[in-house]
Structures are given as C-alpha cells and as structure tokens.
Symmetry: C2
Subunit: 401 residues, 2 copies
C-alpha cells in the first residue's frame, strides 16, 4: 500500500479506525438506551452501519473500520467473560449444576435437530444443513452475560442457571462442531470424539471446582513476595491468559478459560483489580460487539428465498431455546423456566466460529454464511427485550427462595 512514503510516519489508519468503531458503538449504545432499548444491541447495530457493506462501502479503504485487527475483538470478548467471572462466586454456579446441564442439553438438542430439519426441507445439502444446525446450537455466553449483568439479573437464581447452562452449552456446541467437521472430512472417530468431550468437560469442572481454592492459596502469597508494582493485576492477567490457552488445548473456547479465571479470582482480588478490568473491558468490548455487526453482509437478503429461510430459522432458533431450555429448567418453576428459556436465546461466538470454519472448508456458501451471521445478530438484538420482559414480569411475586 505505502510504496510512496508519506511525511506522517505513524499513519492515521489505525487510530482513525479505533476512533470510528469506539465512538459509533458508544453513540448507538447511548441512543438505544435513551429509547429504552438495550445498549448492547446499539453497539452491534453500530457495527452493521459502519461495516464494510453499508457505510464502509462508501469510505476510502484507508479509513475503513475493518482495518482494525480482530485481536482487539478477541481480547474484548475474553475480558467481557473474565469480568463476568469476577462477579460470580463458584458455589453459586456449582449448586445449579444438574439443572444447568439439563437446560444446556435440551436447548442444544432441540436447536440442532429443528434447524437441521428446516435446512433439509429447504433443499440444502446434508453437510450445509449440519453446519447451519451446529451454528445455531449454542447460546452466546458473552451476549447473555452482558445483558444479564447490565440489568442486574446475574445473581438471581435464573441468571445463575442461564450462565452455568451457557458455559456448558458452549462445550456441547464445540463437541457438535467436532462431530460435524469430522463427518465432513469423511469419518467420525467415536473414540477421538469421546476423548475430546471428556477432556473438555474434565478441564471445565476441575477449574470450576478447585480453581478458586488454588488461587486463594497462591495469589496472596505470590503477591506479597513480588517487588514490582501492580502484582495482583500481573498475576490475574497471567492466570487469565494461561487458562485461555489451556481451555483451547482442552477443547473448549478461550473465552471459557477467561470466564473460569475470573470465577477463580472472584473471592481473592480487591476493588482495584475490578476497576482496572473494567477499564480494559469498557475499551475493548465495543470492538467485539461492533465486530459482530460488521461481519454481516445485508445484501445477501436481496434474494427473497434467503430472506424467508433466515426468518424461518430465526423463529425456530428462538422457539427451540425457549421450549428446550424452558423444559430443562422446569424444576425451577414456571416463572424461572421462562426466564431461563429467554436468557438462552442469544447466539454468538460459537455460531460465528462454525460459520467461519464451514466457509473455509468450502461447505458453507456466502448466503448461508450471511444467514448464520444474521441469526447471531438478530437473536442478540431480540434477546434483551425478551429477557427484560420475562424478568420484570411478576417480579414482585417471585418466591424469595
């Protein structure tokens, strides 16, 4: 690009892209909150609007917001989950384990089966149908947690169940993806797959169960011995990145490791660490949310067939989680079951990962990729009002168990 050197040795491209994305995301957050809508939806909308297919198409490429490397969004979503983890006491999640397991399993199974059925009816190949189904199977921990946390629902019984189920459901979703991509490559090795599932589950359970004890023992001692300033922050970041790496190696997503790191630290760290983490997450989360919006190409929906399929799949995606997860949580009573169902609706990270992988393998066409991104965006936009509706309804009459 820069064969002719400019007199400006630090090009404005990166700062300008940072400025556009950050300010647009925060501006739309502000606008939507003033309209009584969830701020998170505003940040995603901002991404669609400034994205390469809408406003971005009219901007010179040097000021295209797509110029920002995805590492900022990746770090952003890691810190989003880390910060949520910091607010969660492990005991509060673990006691809900069996219910959360039922919620996750029912939601994933019903989403997968119904989406695969619809895609096959629509005449898509088995492989493409499997990718669509895998992309719709998992709830977005990030979007769900952000909505719950911003509304103060995260410590309620339903909120904790949703969070635990969404974490488990990511693990299930990644196992489904292994299954689908092994099948696409010509064979499913049940033994390999079982190994992956066991390793992923064991890692998550192990860290959730004993992580906070190890941290409570080691961090204060190390911190006391360290000479450099901000020792607690350094140790926390070390744990965050370590668990993110181990999580990927164990077969789950890096963000699950980040969440577990936060949870392990929740009983040990002080207020300063919370505020420092808030700084990183407030800076970087807009890049994650706007990034989801920016990856949507609205032009694929000029084909009415694609548009109708997208809308049908959207309805199926919502109903599958409402019914599947609601049934899984029925032991919590009608009220909380509805809340859990609504809270599990948002799709996000895993869906985007599946879509990207399918496209790389040449098994997911551009329109289908567009549909999968659309489902992530639409469920993320629809879920906050659904969550608010179910949580605010009859709040006074909730049994204070």
């Amino acid at each position: 690009m820069h064969t002719v050197p400019t007199p400006h040795p630090t090009p404005a491209d990166i700062p300008l892209a940072l400025l556009i994305i950050f300010v647009a995301a925060r501006l739309f957050r502000e606008i939507l909150e003033r309209l009584g809508q969830p701020g998170i939806a505003g940040e995603i909308l901002a991404g669609i609007i400034i994205g390469p297919h809408v406003l971005g198409a009219y901007l010179p490429s040097s000021i295209n917001p797509a110029a920002v490397p995805p590492v900022l969004a990746e770090l952003g979503v890691m810190f989003l989950l880390f910060r949520i983890g910091l607010e969660v006491k492990p005991a509060a999640i673990l006691t809900l384990g069996p219910t959360a397991g039922a919620v996750a399993a029912c939601g994933v199974a019903l989403s997968f089966a119904s989406a695969f059925g619809i895609a096959s009816l629509w005449g898509h190949s088995t492989l493409e149908g499997l990718f669509i189904a895998a992309a719709i199977a998992s709830t977005s921990v990030a979007v769900t947690a952000e909505v719950l946390a911003s509304k103060g629902y995260i410590s309620s019984r339903a909120g904790r169940t949703i969070l635990a189920a969404a974490v488990l459901d990511d693990i299930l979703g990644l196992i489904v993806l292994s299954l689908v991509s092994s099948y696409a490559r010509g064979g499913v090795n049940i033994l390999d797959l079982a190994g992956t599932a066991v390793l992923a589950g064991a890692f998550t359970l192990f860290v959730a169960l004993w992580g906070h004890r190890a941290v409570g023992h080691a961090v204060p001692r190390l911190q006391q011995r360290m000479r450099a300033v901000e020792a607690q922050f350094t140790l926390s970041m070390g744990l965050l990145f370590s668990l993110a790496v181990l999580a990927v190696w164990a077969g789950v997503a890096a963000i699950i490791g980040a969440f577990l790191a936060g949870m392990a630290l929740s009983e040990t760290v002080d207020e300063r660490l919370h505020t420092m983490t808030a700084g990183v997450s407030e800076l970087l989360v807009p890049f994650f949310l706007a990034g989801i919006g920016m990856s949507l190409d609205p032009t694929v929906f000029r084909d009415p067939g694609i548009l109708v399929l997208a809308l049908v799949l959207l309805i199926v995606a919502i109903l599958a989680k409402l019914i599947g997860c609601g049934l899984g949580a029925i032991s919590l009573g009608h009220q909380d079951a509805m809340r859990v169902g609504a809270g599990m609706v948002p799709r996000g990270e895993v869906g985007m990962v599946v879509a990207g992988l399918g496209r790389k393998m040449g098994l997911v066409s551009d329109p289908v990729f567009g549909i999968i991104v659309f489902l992530s965006v639409a469920t993320a936009l629809l879920a906050p009002p659904m969550i608010r509706f179910t949580f605010e309804r009859n709040q006074a009459s909730e049994p204070s168990r």
Copy 2:
C-alpha cells in the same frame, strides 16, 4: 495455515502469544527490579530473548510471539503517554516552554550532526547517513516518561523540562524525517516543509494551551447528560482517539495526541478514570516494550565492523544528548542541566519509525536497521541508571526553587 480444520475452533495461537509476551515481560521486570535495575529494561530484554531471532527461532511458528498484531503495542504506547499526560498539569509544562525549546533544539541538532558525521566517515552513503542521523535525533517520550514516572521524578522541575522537551523534540524529529525522506525522493520543497512544521507546532501548542479549558467546560456537562454507564471513560477515550488522529493529520505522532489528551483531562477526571486507564496500560505496555526488544536481530553484530560502528554511535548518541540538552538547560543550573541531559538520552519510537520507513524505501540495509534498533534498545537500557544517578546525586542540596 489451517487448510485442515482442527476440532478447536478458536486456535490457541493468539492467547498463547499473549501469554508468552505478557508473562516474559513481567517476569523480567520482576527480576531486574530485584537486581536494583529498572523494570522497563527488563521488559525490553524479555522481548529480545523471546524474539524471533533468539528463542523464537527454536519455537514452532504457531507459538511464535511475533504472531501478535502490532496494534496492541500501538495501543499500549498510546495509553502509556495518555496516562503520563493525566499526571501532568498543563501549567507545569507551559511555564518551562522556552527552556524546553532550547533543550529540544540543541539535542536534536547535535545528535543529527554528529551521527551523520560518523556515518559518513564510516563510508555510508549520504542517504543512509541521513536516515541514521534522523533515527538518532529524537528522544523517546515513552521510555523517558516511564522511567521518570516510575521513580517519582516526573513532577520535579528537571522532570517536567525533560517531558516538555521530549514532546517538542518528537515534533522536530518528525520534521527532520520529512526533510530526509523528501530529499531521498529527489527534492525538498521548503514551502511544504515549512507548512508541515507550522501546522504540527500550532496543533501541539493550541491543544496544550486551551485543551484543558475546553475539556473542563465540556466533559462534565456531557457526562451529566449521558444515560449509559461509564460516561467519563467513554468521553475520555473519544478524546484520546480524536486527538491521536488529529495529531497524525497535523504531522506529529499519534502518541503526542494521546499525551495531549491526557494533559487536557488531567484537571477534570476522577480517580476511577485513573485506575481504569492504569488497567489498560498495565495490560498493553508490556507489548510495546517487549515489541521493541523483539524487533532486534542480534545476529547482524557478528560482523565486527557493524558492532564497532554500533558502539561508536551509541557513545555519540549519549554524548550528543548529554551535552546538547545539558547546554540547552544550563539556565536551570548545573545540577538540573545534567539531569535534563541524562533524561533526554533514550531513543525509541521515532527512531523505529525512521528505520522502518528507510527500509521500506530500500535505503536502509539490514545491518543499519539492526544498528538503529540496537541504539533504541541500548539507550533505553542505559538511560534509567543514568537518570537515577543524576537525580539521586546531591538530591538533598537541590535548591528548592
């Protein structure tokens, strides 16, 4: 790379690289602080050691720390300067303007002339000599500020003089670079150049003089009207990115804009913003410092001619700033003049920018690139003890003017 899809949809590459760089930088900071050496030197050393030419050469490319996109280092150095700016009251800098101007001008002129002389004596072409000289001309605001701030010297008269002079000196350095690269492209347009210089100077002076008043007027009012949480942080980041972009457009580096944004906000923002900024900077600054170290290729020094030239230039680079800047600050008295001279020694950002540009233009060979990086690293390593020595010496007898 990933033609065969793996069952892990989020590859560990990025988290692993983040982990390696962050932990190595913090570990070496800790080790050097225990040895009574400056932590900043430890983070640069960590970069050399894990860099692609030392340990990195033995690692599989998938876990090469060089895999982290440079945007993290760029954001890191912006936040480093922003955070320093937050600690600086504009009045404290502006009253030192004339002295700082003399310090900057004498230091740049002497560094440039002596380095060009040495390079020419050594038989380098005029163009390569000009690039070497331009790379050595400017002090590193980032390294200097970090050392001064970490030792608590930043609010002393000498500390404030150094900071103001280093900012001015970056502007001079970028003008020198314009001059050299125009010359390399075949002609110097004096009018263009004068325009650049005036614009860059006017922007910096304007924001330094009136930025804090505008901010003091606008930020509290906007903050009160905003509905979304963390309004002060959002506004501050908006200002930071805006001034970074404007700075580049005005012909100075983005980091100067970041510094000016911090300074403009210094009298308005609360403690929470300081802590949130600390979070971002503690997370990202290691990527900047280790990044400097990682760009050094020690193997070019197997050629004894290169090694000797590098050492001679190092001595010249140190003496030029000690003498030039010391003379410029002589009105502050012998003691403070020495401190200012020592504080102006570190080279960094601008040097790396010049070296990168020269290499892109095909005018800077690999060994010369290595020498320029070496000078940045060596002066950054040598400066902290020199600064400490001059500041701690006779501290008690300092006139408390």
